[in-house]
């Protein structure tokens, strides 16, 4: 071939060569070995193990919540960046820029709605995911540290949602953040009660750090903006990466190791077990139970394409639900923030309403005390329950399921009874108007409910001699309490935080 002919031949074959050069195997994987390689050799996919246990793919085991969270986060990041093209973080401009996004920006209304609803979905999913991981005992060795990483992700998710809440600068945003900042200021209740505020005022420090001033204003808006678009997304991406990496290193998603895994079959034959022709070397040093090449990976299927299908399904499911919600319901936007006209009632975002209800009893306990105790308690779970049995089984078995239901009932009844008491009869301040505040900080519905739940959990511990059972009891009580308090704060509290059965009964001022 002459050089000119060779040149033209190469030009003609460029599309095919381009394709082949992109895929290092040269074609869509068709053998098990090729499937393994496509996962192992891929920059993004090699975060996954080459083979996936079939039980990890069961919907009724995990409900795909982790994937839903990841998908929501991706949707939020993309829609968030798009919104950043038009949103302007200045107090004079923010509200109108959001209105413009809603009215004139091409696809703005839809994208803004998607951002709002997927944010709510993500917060909901993070609570459900935590519950799933807890109830399946997936925090036990070697996954304790990943549980802690998950708690960090919980806090980061709530932080992202809360910082984003202020950005529209409407009445809803402004007053919700005012309340949030005052919750940050709640250590004042304790330092004032014991008289040390002049020397030690963490409340004011926290509030000023958050707001950049003593009130919610331009400084707060820009801080929340920086947190929301830069610092927290970076942090959460890094920690998410760590979280996935730990899943991998801890042996993949948890599963019940006590019974053998069902063999994987495709069609009428068992999945082939291929014999390797080389060792993995150091790249594959993992702890424990990751499917190791060379051993028969019964009960596992190739990650390509099965795990990928599960991930795509979770992604599309999340997207479909989010788009459906975003088409029918607009993200709320009230009048522009007006410091002179407080919302009444001024409510925090829904995931903080349970806290707001507790804060209405004692600012410190509701804002700092109980959340710290809860976070500490959650963090300690994997270190207190060291029994390695029962991993990968919901509630650990029928005994756990019983404990769950009993605790749910107990938790519901006790919180409802306490709420009924406070709504109808008041609390210490009503009966003893001059009682010192420190007494109320120590003895208030929040602390009483925690004490009641702790008592129940201890009783379950004694009865079952199982730490896990008592942990299930305590967790379930708190879950029930959280749901009831959130419902209380969102539905049954009206102007001046008075109790009303329905919003239609709220007095028009």
């Amino acid at each position: 071939m002459t050089p000119i002919q060779e040149f033209l031949e190469n030009l003609k074959h460029t599309p095919r060569h381009l394709r082949e050069s992109a895929m290092r195997t040269g074609r869509v994987p068709q053998t098990d070995r090729e499937r393994s390689q496509s996962t192992f050799h891929n920059l993004f996919l090699h975060l996954q193990s080459v083979r996936t246990d079939r039980r990890s793919l069961r919907f009724a085991y995990t409900f795909g919540l982790g994937l839903i969270l990841t998908a929501s986060f991706v949707v939020l990041t993309i829609t968030g960046i798009l919104l950043m093209v038009y949103y302007k973080p200045g107090v004079e401009l923010a509200y109108n820029s959001v209105k413009d996004i809603h009215f004139v920006v091409p696809a703005g209304r839809f994208i803004r709605n998607i951002h709002r609803w997927s944010a709510h979905l993500m917060v909901l999913a993070v609570f459900l995911h935590m519950a799933r991981v807890f109830y399946t005992g997936s925090y036990k060795r070697p996954r304790e540290f990943n549980w802690l990483i998950g708690l960090v992700l919980l806090v980061l998710t709530l932080g992202l949602s809360f910082t984003g809440y202020l950005l529209p600068w409407d009445q809803l945003a402004y007053w919700a953040v005012t309340i949030g900042a005052n919750i940050a200021n709640s250590p004042r209740e304790v330092t004032d009660a014991i008289g040390i505020t002049a020397w030690f005022d963490p409340g004011r420090f926290q509030k000023q750090l958050l707001l950049g001033a003593n009130y919610v204003g331009q400084e707060s808006l820009i801080r929340f903006y920086v947190l929301h678009v830069a610092l927290l997304p970076l942090a959460i991406t890094a920690v998410m990466g760590l979280h996935f990496w730990r899943v991998r290193k801890d042996g993949g998603l948890s599963r019940d190791e006590s019974s053998p895994a069902p063999p994987a079959r495709i069609g009428s034959r068992d999945v082939e077990v291929f014999a390797p022709t080389k060792t993995y070397g150091l790249m594959a040093v993992v702890r424990g139970r990751t499917p190791v090449v060379g051993k028969a990976p019964e009960g596992s299927v190739s990650s390509w394409p099965n795990l990928l299908w599960a991930e795509i399904a979770a992604l599309m499911f999340t997207v479909a639900v989010t788009l459906a919600l975003s088409y029918f319901w607009d993200a709320p936007l009230k009048e522009m923030a007006n410091p002179a006209i407080p919302e009444n009632p001024a409510k925090a975002p829904w995931y903080f309403l349970g806290l707001q209800e507790l804060v209405s009893y004692s600012a410190f306990m509701g804002g700092v005390g109980i959340p710290s105790v809860v976070l500490l308690g959650l963090g300690l779970i994997p270190y207190l329950d060291r029994d390695p049995r029962g991993v990968g089984i919901w509630f650990g078995g029928p005994a756990g399921r019983r404990t769950f239901w009993q605790s749910a009932v107990y938790g519901l009844v006790s919180v409802l009874a306490l709420l009924a008491l406070t709504v109808n009869l008041g609390w210490l301040r009503t009966w003893f108007p001059t009682i010192p505040q420190i007494a109320i900080i120590i003895l208030n519905p929040a602390t009483v409910i925690v004490a009641l739940y702790a008592a129940w959990s201890l009783w379950v511990l004694k009865r079952t001699s199982s730490i896990r059972m008592s942990a299930i009891a305590l967790f379930t009580c708190f879950l029930a309490g959280f749901i009831v308090l959130t419902a209380m704060g969102s539905i049954f509290r009206g102007p001046n935080w008075h109790f009303y059965w329905w919003p239609s009964q709220w007095p028009v001022h």
């Binding site: 793919l57 009215f103 004139v104 696809a107 069902p262 299927v301 299908w309 399904a313 975003s326 001022h509």
Partner: protein, 490 residues
């Protein structure tokens, strides 16, 4: 176990993807095809083509781009997108078209060019919106919904003095202003610093949002004009405990007063938007012309004192209101005394002070009011009072003749409170004696002199009545010889 382990996932993916595509398409259609404003622009384009004269004009009409249109007025901080549907608003050919294509009525856009004013500066509403419901912004999270057409004149007052406008421009507003003065609303409500303290000041009433109004008993729409309209028809029904009497107003009068209320705005408009007559109005407020006593009386006094010729019983106050233009009363007071009563009021009663620090009336205005009251009767020289007699005898006389109206303890019932400290200091013995002697015509106060009281009996009564004089002369309270407006009289 057979089958492809990812089968359920493939199903979920396929279904959810189809659902996703569906919603994406639906959202795209909603925004790019079925949006209201697009339909209106296409309709307008058809009208332009139909009205076009000649091929060139028709071609231009056919090429009208369908796009969002807006008027940005940086000086007013507004972005108004009304013209995305109302394309023909300043096109004089569109007077025969239905809304939204119709030309703006009354040729107003010839003098209020759209590029300079936008729309919302006069019409309110949410200018940024692209559909009517959100532009109207009623029952919506927006502080200033679109003003109904019948109330649009309210905003004329922001740049104009309505009285200086040609007839037919802002008639309702002018009528409302006049009605406000005639009905004496200033008697209880301050406006521009002048008026009574019983009701709220009305200076920014037109810019109140629905959150600043008591809406518990509001029946109609949650708008501030509806609040005004219902409030005028039944004040204490809307604001519980309100002392405002029900003004006797016809429905058109309610409308004009509502327009006036809506026009009361403290707006920060750039100077180039204020008409010269507005600037004159602001100047005139600082340099008011000579006040007319009769007008002032109607504006500030008539609401409580009515014609002032008779005593009246006020149901809301559950007290009687003196007839201050009663000839018999005016005769016994000299101008200085009348002026003091007006300036300082009667603390402890419903009569507020009207001086410059209280009701906001200037010295000239108080003098004009006094002159008006004086028209009822010239001041007479009071005969000397008899010397104060025996208080015990006076007490017996008082209990017998006076307590029935003036109250046993002088606190007043259907007659003035004689024990009122301000009254005690303002009234001289001569004044008291003459009143007892000659009575007050046209009031229930009889002429005890004619009924047979001797001067010594009057003296006894004086001694008793003076027992209510406050022991220490309160420097804060006015007296006949107090420091007045910078002059010291002995």
């Amino acid at each position: 176990m057979s089958g492809d382990p990812s089968r359920p996932f493939k199903w979920i993916t396929a279904v959810c993807s189809v659902v996703t595509i569906g919603f994406l398409a639906a959202a795209a259609v909603r925004e790019n095809i079925s949006a209201d404003w697009r339909g209106y622009q296409v309709g307008f384009r058809g009208i332009l083509e139909a009205k076009a004269k000649g091929d060139a004009a028709r071609a231009t009409a056919r090429n009208l781009p369908i796009e969002i249109r807006q008027i940005v007025v940086p000086a007013l901080h507004t972005v108004d997108r009304c013209v995305s549907c109302h394309l023909g608003i300043d096109d004089p050919r569109m007077t025969d078209q239905p809304n939204p294509h119709r030309t703006h009525p009354r040729k107003l856009l010839a003098i209020h060019r759209v590029e300079k004013f936008g729309c919302t500066v006069c019409h309110q509403g949410q200018g940024a919106a692209l559909n009517f419901q959100e532009a109207k912004a009623e029952e919506y999270f927006w502080d200033y919904p679109l003003l109904p057409a019948k109330y649009t004149e309210a905003t004329c007052g922001s740049c104009h003095d309505p009285r200086a406008l040609p007839a037919g421009s802002a008639d309702k507003l002018v009528l409302g202003m006049k009605l406000f003065e005639q009905k004496g609303c200033n008697g209880c409500h301050k406006l521009n610093g002048k008026g009574g303290p019983l009701g709220p000041a009305l200076d920014n009433e037109g810019l109140k949002t629905k959150h600043e109004l008591v809406r518990a008993s509001l029946k109609g729409s949650q708008t501030n004009w509806n609040w005004f309209a219902e409030h005028f028809l039944d004040p204490s029904g809307i604001v519980a405990g309100s002392l405002m009497p029900m003004p006797a107003l016809s429905q058109p009068q309610v409308e004009t007063l509502t327009v006036f209320m809506l026009s009361l705005r403290q707006r920060d408009l750039p100077a180039e938007y204020l008409a010269p007559d507005k600037i004159d109005e602001q100047y005139a407020r600082l340099h008011p012309p000579a006040p007319d006593g009769a007008t002032l009386y109607h504006r500030y006094c008539a609401a409580c004192h009515d014609t002032g010729l008779h005593t009246r019983w006020d149901k809301k106050f559950a007290r009687f209101v003196p007839g201050i233009r009663n000839a018999a009363f005016v005769r016994t007071e000299d101008d200085e005394c009348l002026a003091e009563n007006i300036r300082e009021g009667r603390p402890g009663t419903r009569m507020p002070g009207w001086g410059s620090k209280a009701g906001g009336l200037s010295g000239a205005e108080v003098a004009a009011l006094v002159a008006y009251l004086r028209t009822s009767a010239p001041a007479m020289a009071l005969p000397a009072a008899p010397p104060r007699g025996d208080a015990a005898r006076g007490a017996a006389l008082f209990a017998q003749e006076c307590a029935g109206c003036h109250g046993m303890d002088g606190k007043g019932l259907i007659a003035p409170a004689l024990a009122n400290p301000v009254f005690q200091q303002a009234a001289t013995d001569a004044f008291l004696a003459q009143t007892i002697r000659a009575g007050r015509e046209n009031t229930p106060m009889p002429a005890f002199g004619r009924a047979g009281f001797s001067e010594s009996q009057i003296g006894d009564l004086l001694a008793y009545i003076r027992k209510w004089q406050p022991p220490v002369r309160n420097a804060a309270l006015p007296g006949r010889h107090a420091i007045q407006e910078g002059r010291v009289t002995p």
